[in-house]
Structures are given as structure tokens and as C-alpha cells.
């Protein structure tokens, strides 16, 4: 459990160090995952490369597309006014992570790269169709968040790459988002199941024009409920319809049973939370356009 500590002051230097240390090194953002893994003996890096002095990673940009720097903390997302309206799911996903102490340091980038299938903000970003930008010795590339995680704790990020930001398109008119989480207690909780949705209504504000539904903690990675999405498109959003969407989503997910919950309960939660999340989106769209 001993390691050397490095504090690069530029992106280039950070990438160089990452390349130099390879699998013996780990980037340190908030440390809320890395330090716990080290403490539990699951990771034993020889080098820890802190990103806290690397400029250019902590901006929140809202103009056309929205971009979150990898080092943006959950706390900043929670308190960003621009996210309080139609993008409220971002706040809802961020504010249920850990307690204040964790949210003050835990970053979006760290959350994405840690690739827990239960990561709340990741589930929201998935529903927002986020794309990720990464930087490596070979330069920059853009990767879809959908498919970025391939298994719990595993992503397609290459060993020398550093995630620099996550961005997603601005919301179309008549669109709102919502996020709900289920857990055994009301704080300091890793989701048993969570659901995020981005819903766009038609001009008459009755039918679903476009919807994205993302599920967390019910598959090896955060996932899109694509069958449920297809079912909803063009349909009026009655209780019956949203419940059916929930049932379909429940059949799409592949939950496991573990010490936190059984697979059956997780599927049940998906069936319950999907209609509730959609109802919130509906409420928000109608409220904002009235």
C-alpha cells in the first residue's frame, strides 16, 4: 500500500506520466474510489498521478452542447443553476451520491472511468447520450458513453489515455429529464437500481416524440432500455403506457443478485421506477411550457 506521488501541472505531463507508468500507475481525481480500492487491497499502484494541478479539466460549459470537464465534482454539478431546469436529472443523480464530503471531491470523470454499473451520474449521462473526449499520446478521440463501459470496472479507455470531458447535446424544445434511485437507506447508498430518462414530447404535448431511458445497477454496465424506448415512441404517455414501458425495460435488464438485493427485486424496481421517472419528465415538460 505504498506508492510514489506525482503532481503534473499540464495535460501533456499527465499523459506522459500515464504512459511511463502504464499499469503500475493510476490517475487520482477525487480519490473516493481509488483510495477505497487501495485500502481494501484491490488495487496496489506503484505510482499515483494527481490531476488536481492539471488545468483545463474542470470547466462546465453551457453553450449549444453542454460539456463537463472530467474533474468537475458532484458538488458543482449539484449547485449549477443551468442544470436546475430541464436538465434536473443531472442534479438528481449527483446529489444522491455519498454525503457532502464525498460529493465535494468526487468527480464526473472518476465516476465514469471507475465504471461501476450503479454509478448514478453515469446513468444520467447515458440518457443524455453523452460523448466522452479522451487524450492520449496519439492525440484526442471521442467515444460514446454508451459502450464505453464493457464490464464492472472495465472501460475501453486505453492505458495511456486520460478522460478529459463528457459532453451532450443541448436539449430540444419540449424536453425534460428525471432520475430516481432505490436503495436500502436514504443516503450514503450505492443504488440497488436507478433510472434516468430524457423525454421529448410532440407539439401537442401528448405523445412521446423521442425518449432515452438509462438503467443502473441492473446489468454489468449502465445500459439503455432500447426496447422500452422503441415502444414509447409515438405513443401517448398514459399511465398504462408508461407502466408497459417499465415492464419492457424490466425484461431487458440483466440484474444479478448480491448482498444488496436480489435480481428479482432489481427487475421489479426497474418496472416501478421507469414509469415514475417518465411521469416526472412529463410533469416538468408541461410545467415549463405552460
Amino acid at each position: 500500500m505504498t506508492f510514489d506521488y506525482h503532481e503534473p501541472t499540464s495535460l501533456r505531463e499527465a499523459i506522459e506520466l500515464g504512459a511511463r507508468f502504464g499499469v503500475d500507475g493510476r490517475f487520482l481525481a477525487g480519490g473516493t474510489d481509488l483510495m477505497v480500492q487501495i485500502h481494501r487491497g484491490r488495487l496496489n499502484p506503484r505510482h499515483v498521478v494527481s490531476l488536481q494541478c492539471v488545468p483545463g479539466l474542470d470547466a462546465i460549459e453551457v453553450d449549444g452542447a453542454i460539456s463537463l470537464g472530467a474533474r468537475v465534482t458532484h458538488r458543482r454539478i449539484e449547485t449549477t443553476t443551468d442544470f436546475q431546469g430541464a436538465l434536473r436529472a443531472l442534479v438528481e443523480g449527483a446529489e444522491v451520491v455519498g454525503g457532502h464530503q464525498v460529493r465535494n471531491v468526487a468527480t464526473v470523470g472518476g465516476n465514469i472511468v471507475n465504471a461501476s454499473p450503479a454509478a448514478d451520474v453515469v446513468v444520467v449521462l447515458l440518457a443524455l447520450e453523452a460523448r466522452l473526449t479522451s487524450l492520449g499520446p496519439a492525440g484526442e478521440r471521442t467515444i460514446a458513453l454508451d459502450g464505453f463501459g464493457t464490464a464492472p470496472g472495465v472501460t475501453v479507455l486505453r492505458p495511456n489515455e486520460l478522460l478529459t470531458r463528457a459532453s451532450f447535446p443541448r436539449l430540444a424544445p419540449r424536453t425534460a429529464t428525471a432520475f430516481l434511485k432505490a436503495g436500502r437507506r436514504r443516503a450514503m447508498e450505492i443504488s440497488i437500481a436507478c433510472v434516468a430518462a430524457r423525454l421529448t414530447l410532440d407539439a401537442a404535448l401528448e405523445r412521446c416524440q423521442d425518449v432515452r431511458i438509462a438503467l443502473g445497477a441492473v446489468a454489468p454496465t449502465a445500459m439503455r432500455a432500447r426496447s422500452a424506448e422503441r415502444y414509447l415512441e409515438g405513443r401517448p404517455l398514459t399511465d398504462e403506457v408508461t407502466r408497459e414501458a417499465g415492464r419492457i425495460a424490466a425484461t431487458e435488464c440483466r440484474p444479478i443478485g448480491d448482498v444488496r438485493a436480489s435480481a428479482r427485486y432489481r427487475a421489479l424496481l426497474v418496472a416501478t421506477l421507469v414509469p415514475r421517472v417518465l411521469a416526472r419528465c412529463l410533469e416538468r415538460i408541461r410545467f415549463h411550457t405552460s
Binding site: 432505490a182 436500502r184 436514504r186 448482498v259 427485486y265 421489479l268
Partner: protein
């Protein structure tokens, strides 16, 4: 009985608060000495195995490592409270995953951790006994093959994997069941929960040149640890000194020996002070959490709701060692009877060995498990008979002057008042059928454990008072309560009192901070000391003032009479100069509670002393789809005898309910194949600020003759009723009855689904 009092009965701030809010109060986990080494314990991964070999040679050579010890390095001693079946380090048999195999001391925590990793363990796994059913099955492997040869309390009924069977028999249950119109048989199970103290167990040991070892530790029972450690080290107790600097919560988990023996043995080996502290993982795998239980209750009742008979059995998984099990199994039988008039009883409590950790004592041991079962069943009965659950209880609860299950006479029985006031407060009469919302009640009783306490009380020349007690303050403010009693009797201010506590060398014997006894016993010991001090004071003042003793009175730190006056401080100065000082020794031991010995067998705890009575009521909603429970209101009415410090008692109630709700709703140590799956605070779910409702406390006061100003023990009871109160409210809200703890949203949701299909 109302009394006019100055200090007792008032919600004065606790005396040790300023140190705690400024971070200057010292806890055992903070304690350090110059030149100190850091100790760690190597623990088994196998739940049941033959230990073949431990190779410590590589570990011993690592930089910074100063000692590595295994069983051959420590005295060949078996110890244990009720059965001597424990060793410090496993010799040739491993009996639970987490059992200590070796201990190391090194110059840094990192070096100690590296040493642990370098010890090679060779063992041959054996078939583990995973639970009570496996332990009791015919032909089950024996957790202790040599059980019959162990030294044990003679009163215990031991047989292979059963290390005690305690029993209460009253009347004739078969006849009682014949008399009944209806018979109800129900089965309940509860999980293991951890006390959850936020300060890890810690000990720092140092030997002096005379062969005396001092151990600073956060134990609740310094004198018991002194005895146990002396036994382990094969020394006279006078060669062992236990000092408690401060404790960050105990709840019973710090009663038995924790890290003290490892620290002492490593310090002996290295010649340097050694500190050993547990990790979170060790706490959740190898500590003394609450026994998991299986409870079967068969109760006979007439159609109009009169209980005629009860036959009940409770099996505790007591883990790899007997520990507290035999005693807890005894107390369980009293809790299976509950505070009810039941003329025919056959109640049995079993403590059963398995290959798991040495489950121990946790706030009201056996209480939540037994109460969950019997109070759930009361509601099942009420529902079946079409009776109001409150009325069913009122019809059957014991009253003043009636008998307890073992024949003890019950006095100061405040149970009816508790039930009625809790029911009123929760709006019991306003229950309306509302989908998904319901109210539940549960009631019970508990003891104020006996055991003796001594204090020295000394008056200083400046008029302040030193209270020297062997009791440890674990956070309940019991010592503030005792000091209030002292201040009241002596006529001084609370601020005039300084407390010295918990040092086996310099403080008088105390039975320890357990069983809700500390304020009660230490308070009474103070009263005895003050009675003696008053004699000394009046005699000296009489001589000094030239006034007859009978004309003198003690008032506000002075002695006055016939127009003359002297202060306690002046008298102390005079006495110091010529008489050795004003100092008194006070002791107290609760008089034994008479009971009918013919009714009990194998019973370590046959009667409840100065019993308390309590009723809890909950008002909650259940989300019909997710099963999530939201508690709107939670009320506790507790008969405390006399409230020495109302705010402190309410604090105990609020905290005890929060902890009890954890057991009721979210906490469980999950085992699979003898290993703990959730040995960290991420997955061991203790309630946060967002999980605990406001608790409304009603202090009912039916004073006991024995307690100081009539006080009874208050600390443990709030843990007892929450699981049953919640189970009953959930049943009321949904019609669904959950009979296992914790009552998770998952269980409720799946039960609702099952009922709908």
C-alpha cells in the same frame, strides 16, 4: 411520589461535553506512548479447519517488524466467561473465519500490515457448521470436539454443539393449550447486527520493570478485563492494570476482551509499548455482534383474548465460542414471556455453537429478537380474534404486585401508563383504514442489572468534590447522572464535582458499564458515600464550631447552625491537616430479587431487578410497489422510575430507537459459507440522518424503591421494541406480515407481489 430536588431531575448538560466538542477528550483510539509499536492480528480465512502450520519466518525478517507471535508463544490457557473454550491464538483448530492465528508488532502500521501478508498459513479445511440447523442436525460435526472436558459454569446445560439450554417452566402448558380456544404457532428469524460504535476497539499496553502491565483500552468492563487478561497471562490480577481513557461507544460490543491481550503479549515480547486497533473489516467479521436467532412461539388464547399458555423456543447462533451465549439464552426466556400474565409457560433458550464469530452482547441482549417474535404474534392473535392490539395487551399485561415468569414480585409497574400514553400520542384511536399507511405498537420489559459498584468521594480544600469510580463512561452520561445524585445529596453544585474513573489500580471495583446499571449503581454508591461523609462532616464541624451535631445542617456547600457557619472546603482543610482528609467509601449492590428457583433450569439470569417497562408506537407508510417504508411518527413511552436527567434519558431513547430501527429495517451481517459478505460500512447499512425519524419520548415514572431517587436502568430498553413496532405497523399498513429481520423494502415488495398473485 414527587420530590423537591435541586439537581437530580433536571436536564443539566453532561459534564464531559466541553472536552468532546473541542476534540480534547481522549479516547483509547487516540492514546499513544513514546516508542510505541503498532500491532496487527492475522486472522483466518477458513471458517473451520485444522491448523497445520504457520510460517512466520519471512514476516519476522521484514523491515520494521519487531515481533511475530503464534500460539506456542503465549501461555496455554483456555478462557471464557461461562465456558472456558477460547484461546488468544488458534493452536491446532480454526473455528471461524476471522479467528486470530498470529499477531505482529512493527514500527509502523504499514510494516505491520506487510508482516501479516508475509505469514504463510497452512490448514486443512473441515466441513463448517454454518448455522443452528446444521449444528443441531444428527451427526453434525462438533465445533468443539472436547466440549465435555471444558471448565464451565456448573449451572449450564451443555450437550455437544449446545453450550447452554436455559429453561423456565410454570404450570402445565399442555393443560393451558387445552383451555385455549385458539392456538397460534409462529416462527421468526433475526439476523446478526453490529453495535456500530464509531470508535474501533483499541488497546495500548506497556510493561513496567516490576512485571506489571498497564493497558489503556476502550473496554466497558475494566475489572473483568483485568481478571481475564491476568488469567491469559497467568499472572495475579494485581499485575494487570486496566485504564480507560475514554470510549467512543460500546453498546455491549466492548464488554469482552478485545485487543488488550494482543497488545500485552506483543509488548511483553518486544519490551516496548504496543498499540493494537481493529479495522472496520475486523469489526464486521471478528467482533461480538448480536446473535442471530430463530424463535418459535406457540401461544394459547381464549376467544376473548386471555393468554392461557405459551411454549416458546429461541435458538441463538452463538458462534465459535460460548462467550455471552449462555447468559443471553437465559435472559431470552424472560423476554419470551414478556410482561404478561401467562399461567402456563415452557420457555427455552438455546446457545448453539457454529463456525462463525463469537456473537456477544449488544444492548438488551436477546431483547429485540424475543420481543420481535412475541410482540408480532400478539398482533397476529389480535387480528385473528378481531381484537384491538392495544386492548389485547392491556388485558394481559402484568400489574403492580403480580408475578413475573419466574415468580418474582413485580413492583413499580408502569406498563399500562406506557401503553396508554404511547397509544394516545400516536393517535391510536384515530386509526382509519388507509391503503399503505398503518400504526403499530409493541411493549416489553427489561432489567436493571445488579453487580456491585464502589466509589470514593473526597472533599477538597477549595470545596470541590472528587468522585472516584471504577465505572467507565461509555457515552450514556451515566457518570453525569451519578454526579447529579452526589451533588444533590451533598448540597453542592454539579460544577463542583470532578470525576476520576475506570482505573483498576486506583478506583474502586465496579461491575461495569453493562445492563443499564451504571447511573443506578454508581448513583447509589454515591448516596452511601455521602451518608458516611455527612457523619464525618458533622462531627468535625461540631468540634470546629462548638455546636452540637443535631443542631447543624448541610446547606449549599456549608454547614450551618446556631448562627455559625463553616464551608466544606474549610472542613476539608482542617481535616487534611489533622485527620487525613474528608473522604468516604460508598458501595452498593442491588439486593437479590427473590424468585422461585424450581421454575428455572440452566439459568444464569433468573429474575429482572428493578424492571423497566416500555411501549413503542410507529406510524408509517409503505410504498406498495417498491416496499419502501417511510416512518411518519415514532413514539416511545418508557417507565424510567425517576428521571435523573430527562434530556440525557431522551437522548438514550432517541439513539436506541435509531439503532433499533437499523436492526428493524436495514442492518444485517450477511454470511455465505461461513464468511461475511458485507464486511465494510458501504454494505453494512447503518441509519443516516435521512433514515431516522424524530422520536417522541414520554418519560413515565413509577419509582423503584431500590434505585437512587427511584431511578431504574434506562440505556438498553429503547433497542428492544423497534423491530416489533415496525413489523406491526407494516402489517397494519399492508396486511403483509414479515417474520424475518431486517424488514427490507425488498421483502415487503416481494411479499406484496406474492399476495397479489
Amino acid at each position: 411520589m414527587t420530590q423537591v430536588t435541586r439537581i437530580v431531575g433536571r436536564s443539566v448538560p453532561r459534564m464531559d461535553a466541553p472536552g468532546k466538542v473541542t476534540g480534547t477528550a481522549l479516547y483509547a483510539a487516540d492514546f499513544a506512548l513514546p516508542g510505541m509499536l503498532y500491532g496487527r492480528v492475522l486472522r483466518s480465512h477458513e471458517p473451520h479447519a485444522r491448523l497445520v502450520r504457520l510460517d512466520t519466518s519471512r514476516a519476522a525478517r521484514l523491515p520494521g517488524v519487531r515481533a511475530v507471535i503464534t500460539a506456542p508463544d503465549v501461555p496455554d490457557v483456555r478462557y471464557g466467561g461461562s465456558v472456558k473454550d477460547e484461546r488468544v491464538l488458534a493452536r491446532d483448530r480454526i473455528r471461524f473465519a476471522g479467528q486470530p492465528l498470529a499477531a505482529v508488532a512493527a514500527t509502523s502500521p504499514d510494516a505491520a500490515a506487510a508482516a501479516l501478508a508475509a505469514i504463510e498459513v497452512v490448514c486443512e479445511p473441515l466441513v463448517p457448521v454454518l448455522d443452528v440447523a446444521a449444528a443441531l442436525a444428527p451427526g453434525a460435526p462438533l465445533v468443539h470436539e472436547a466440549w465435555a472436558s471444558y471448565t464451565a459454569l456448573p449451572i449450564l446445560h451443555r450437550d455437544r454443539n449446545v453450550c447452554n439450554r436455559a429453561r423456565i417452566v410454570v404450570g402445565d402448558v399442555e393443560r393451558g393449550f387445552v383451555e385455549a380456544d385458539r392456538i397460534f404457532e409462529n416462527r421468526f428469524t433475526t439476523s446478526s447486527v453490529h453495535q456500530g460504535y464509531t470508535e474501533p476497539r483499541a488497546a495500548v499496553a506497556q510493561w513496567d520493570s516490576s512485571g506489571l502491565v498497564t493497558v489503556w483500552s476502550n473496554t466497558q468492563l475494566p475489572f473483568e478485563i483485568q481478571t481475564t487478561l491476568a488469567e491469559i497471562l497467568q499472572l495475579p490480577p494485581s499485575k494487570v492494570r486496566i485504564i480507560v481513557p475514554g470510549i467512543g461507544g460500546g453498546f455491549g460490543g466492548k464488554l469482552r476482551i478485545g485487543m488488550e491481550h494482543f497488545a500485552a503479549l506483543l509488548a511483553m515480547r518486544t519490551g516496548r509499548p504496543v498499540k493494537v486497533m481493529t479495522t472496520s473489516e475486523e469489526e464486521l467479521t471478528a467482533a461480538y455482534p448480536r446473535q442471530p436467532a430463530i424463535v418459535e412461539v406457540k401461544t394459547g388464547v381464549t376467544n376473548d383474548g386471555r393468554l392461557t399458555a405459551r411454549e416458546a423456543r429461541l435458538w441463538f447462533d452463538t458462534g465459535a465460542f460460548a462467550g455471552s451465549g449462555p447468559g443471553v439464552a437465559s435472559v431470552a426466556t424472560l423476554m419470551l414471556a414478556g410482561p404478561y400474565r401467562i399461567p402456563n409457560l415452557l420457555l427455552e433458550g438455546f446457545a448453539v455453537y457454529t463456525n462463525k464469530t463469537n456473537f456477544g452482547s449488544f444492548r438488551a441482549p436477546s431483547g429485540p429478537q424475543a420481543n420481535f417474535a412475541v410482540e408480532s404474534q400478539m398482533d397476529i392473535i389480535a387480528d385473528a380474534l378481531g381484537l384491538d392490539p392495544l386492548e389485547l395487551r392491556l388485558k394481559n399485561i402484568v400489574r403492580e404486585g403480580e408475578e413475573g415468569p419466574t415468580g418474582q414480585m413485580l413492583t413499580a409497574v408502569g406498563l399500562e401508563e406506557c401503553l396508554r400514553r404511547a397509544a394516545d400520542a400516536i393517535g391510536w384511536q384515530d386509526r382509519r383504514p388507509e391503503a399503505g399507511r398503518g400504526k403499530g405498537i409493541a411493549c416489553g420489559w427489561w432489567t436493571t442489572t445488579g453487580g456491585s459498584s464502589g466509589v470514593y468521594v473526597k472533599i477538597n480544600p477549595d470545596g470541590t468534590v472528587a468522585l472516584n469510580t471504577g465505572a467507565a463512561e461509555i457515552g450514556t452520561a451515566a457518570l453525569t447522572g451519578a454526579a447529579q445524585v452526589l451533588a444533590e445529596d451533598l448540597g453542592v453544585q454539579l460544577a463542583d464535582i470532578n470525576v476520576v474513573s475506570a482505573d483498576t489500580l486506583s478506583t474502586p471495583y465496579d461491575f461495569g458499564a453493562q445492563g443499564s446499571r451504571t447511573a443506578f449503581a454508581v448513583g447509589n454508591a454515591c448516596r452511601a458515600a455521602v451518608a458516611d461523609l455527612k457523619r464525618q462532616i458533622l462531627a468535625l464541624a461540631s468540634k470546629h464550631l462548638g455546636v452540637e451535631e443535631h443542631a447543624l445542617a448541610l446547606r449549599e456547600g456549608s454547614v450551618v447552625g446556631e448562627g455559625k457557619r463553616t464551608t466544606l472546603g474549610e472542613l476539608a482543610r482542617i481535616s487534611q491537616a489533622s485527620g487525613g482528609g474528608l473522604i468516604a467509601h460508598g458501595t452498593f449492590v442491588a439486593p437479590p430479587t427473590p424468585y422461585d428457583a424450581k421454575r428455572v433450569e440452566g439459568h444464569v439470569y433468573p429474575a429482572f431487578h428493578s424492571p423497566s417497562f416500555h411501549a413503542h408506537a410507529a406510524d408509517l407508510s409503505v410504498d406498495a410497489e417498491t416496499g419502501e417504508i417511510t416512518i411518519h411518527r415514532y413514539v416511545v413511552a418508557q417507565d424510567v422510575g425517576f428521571a435523573v436527567n430527562p434530556a440525557a434519558i431522551e437522548g438514550q431513547i432517541e439513539g436506541g430507537v435509531a439503532q433499533g430501527l437499523g436492526q428493524a429495517l436495514s442492518e444485517e451481517i450477511v454470511y455465505e459459507n461461513g464468511r461475511v459478505l458485507n464486511a465494510n460500512l458501504t454494505d453494512y447499512k447503518m441509519p443516516t440522518t435521512l433514515d431516522v425519524p424524530r422520536v417522541e419520548s414520554i418519560l413515565v415514572q413509577h419509582p423503584t424503591l431500590v434505585g437512587p431517587f427511584g431511578a431504574k436502568g434506562v440505556g438498553e430498553p429503547p433497542n428492544i421494541e423497534p423491530p416489533a413496532a415496525i413489523a406491526n405497523a407494516v402489517a397494519s399498513a399492508t396486511g403483509v406480515r414479515i417474520t424475518t429481520l431486517p424488514i427490507t423494502a425488498e421483502k415487503v415488495a416481494l411479499a406484496l407481489r406474492a399476495r397479489a398473485t
